[in-house]
């Protein structure tokens, strides 16, 4: 059941999962807003989609001048990019930091220089570093995945649950695992095998191959990331195993098609929106132009927007598949 990889969907995916399209006065062109954008290396599908969606979002507005300092996993370099934005006097910075804590100081500097900073996904360690934060819910993602597995396996108390994490030394991975463990704990389950990959296909494949070998019988697997999921599925296919079901993470179109097909081990995936940065761009524009989110909040843009991490299953996949990102 593999499907095509045509890049088809960018434009509509940018509008987010079902949330209202921009409407009303907020879309009226205003003064041109120069926005600097920086994110970690877009070396896999989700992160690639983050950047593409942000760019596509900016395209839609004539009054946004987007400057993309494209991704890096070197915080030293990312700091330097923000410094350059400050030097250049951009109006706003949308920043998805490789490491929130490490970028906090330079973001604070930007705020002090009068630049509107919108923090995306990985949170700064100081509330003064950003005007608004758009957060994915990593802990919630783990909770969603764990809760789903609990629902499915609740009546098998000694079920074997395995976990294939992403890059293990990122705080977000730790948050996801924590949420997962907490949710499993609620129904008396625990993670019996845990491996970590690196958000890449090859990493997912290698980790899964060894995991399947180490655990002769599994009931459920949660894989943090649908990009590495391509490799994970290849490994599962290779091992010829199907006694378990797999829950994905992030919500790529590919995985949703697997869910839709019904004959795959993938039964569900937990969405982690790849449109956060695009949301950030919109918010930055509103903030600089002094507008509010008129269709939602009358006075000013809120300080924090936390996105939901819904579980996609065969029952509701139709609702999400059109807006999912291609890995």
């Amino acid at each position: 059941g593999c499907t095509s990889n045509e890049p088809a969907q960018q434009d509509d995916s940018a509008s987010g999962n079902g949330s209202a399209a921009p409407a009303g006065a907020n879309d009226e062109p205003g003064d041109t807003v120069t926005i600097g954008f920086s994110a970690p290396a877009s070396d896999h599908g989700w992160m690639g989609a983050i950047t593409s969606a942000a760019q596509a979002e900016a395209e839609k507005y004539d009054d946004i001048d987007l400057r993309v300092a494209e991704g890096t996993n070197d915080v030293n370099l990312q700091i330097s990019q923000i410094e350059q934005f400050i030097n250049d006097g951009v109006d706003a910075i949308v920043l998805l930091p490789f490491d929130g804590a490490a970028l906090t100081e330079v973001a604070t500097q930007a705020m002090e220089a009068g630049i509107t900073v919108v923090n995306v996904d990985r949170e700064f360690s100081s509330p003064f570093a950003a005007r608004t934060t758009v957060l994915g819910d990593n802990y919630g993602m783990g909770v969603s995945a764990g809760t789903y597995i609990c629902d499915e396996l609740g009546d098998t108390p000694d079920a074997v649950v395995a976990e294939i994490a992403g890059i293990d030394n990122l705080p977000l991975t730790q948050d996801r695992s924590q949420g997962f463990a907490d949710a499993l704990g609620d129904c008396g389950l625990k993670v019996s095998n845990r491996v970590a990959a690196d958000f890449t296909v090859q990493g997912g494949e290698a980790a899964a191959a060894n995991l399947l070998q180490a655990a002769p019988k599994i009931d459920a697997i949660w894989n943090h990331d649908d990009d590495q999921g391509v490799g994970v599925l290849a490994a599962i296919d290779n091992a010829g195993r199907d006694e378990f079901f797999l829950v994905g993470g992030a919500g790529s179109a590919n995985v949703m098609r697997e869910i839709q097909s019904g004959d795959s081990v993938v039964k569900a995936t937990v969405i982690y929106p790849a449109t956060q940065a695009a949301d950030g761009i919109r918010l930055a524009r509103l903030l600089v132009q002094g507008k509010a989110m008129s269709d939602l909040v009358e006075v000013e843009v809120p300080r924090t927007v936390q996105l939901h991490a819904p579980v996609v299953t065969a029952d509701n996949v139709e609702q999400y598949i059109d807006t999912a990102f291609e890995s």
Partner: protein, 356 residues
Amino acid sequence: MSEHHPSGTPAATPAGAQATEAADRDVVGGRDVARRDRLARLGFGRNLGLVIALALLCIVGVVTAGERFLSIDNIMTILRFAAVIGVLSVGMTFVITGGGIDLSIGSVMGLATVWATTVATQTLATNTHWLVMVFAALAVGTVAGLVNGVLIAYGKVVAFIATLAMMVAARGLAEIIANKRTQIVTVKPFLDFFRADLLGVPVLVWIFAVVAAAGWVLLNRTTFGRRTIAVGGNPEAARLAGIKVQRHTMYLYALAGLTAGIGAVMMLARTTAGSSTNGQLYELDAIAAVVVGGTLLVGGRGTIVGTVFGVLIFSTLTNVFTQNDLSISAQSVAKGAIIVAAVLLQQRFAAGSRST
């Protein structure tokens, strides 16, 4: 300026005190060295350290993970896991034996997976034959290797730097081509062929075996191999003996590129997807395997058997770690320690088999 080398040989290298002293140890008078040499060439003496290391690992595996560790399934898992790096390591063995180094093969492999899975290539493959994809991957690998080779042999750019540049550039190019997406393999027959088993052994493992065997023959039984050893051992002497050193050097990198292309095909079969992240850091794994296997990093002496052992040791290690649910971090620390231990062990036995 010129260098009149004090001690002639390894001196051409800055390898330092250790090289000189190792060389000293080498000066053996006895006449029955010859027989031992021959034994060593068969891989007994020289690889004893490696055999012991691998055996120890297996014992640890059995003790901690039980019989499951020695099951056919698990052994195939280890071998499948070893196969891709193994093929790259065979190419790397040639480059290192020839006195060079290639930091780019991981990236080049990634680039080849991406190139072979572009819409254009896959459409062509669907319309004609899946061999088109194989050909694309091999061609990309070989061409990248050739570029390395030309830069190093004719441009006289130090191998470390030329291939470092290629590593960076190939990764970037792969990202541009893939547009940061994971490109899924849609050519069914390709997957059917490479993901199959043959006589109970996965095709991937067969490929590794064939590449290793071909590499062994090439290095030990052909004029190409002899030239490689000569070029790596003393390039000036090789040149003055009439060997086309520059051209041969170029071939060596092209060969490494070719193995990267083969690795790419295997990677595609294994992961069913082309991605610019494929092969990241594989070059370091391959170098570690080659050196742990006993090939001299200064060139002039190489062993495919050792390399295969080196690869197996590392993949068994990972397997044992996973069986025991060890964290990746602890794995890293242990891996570092084991690399050093393996090299020390290997040195001890290699020296032993040579001098006593």
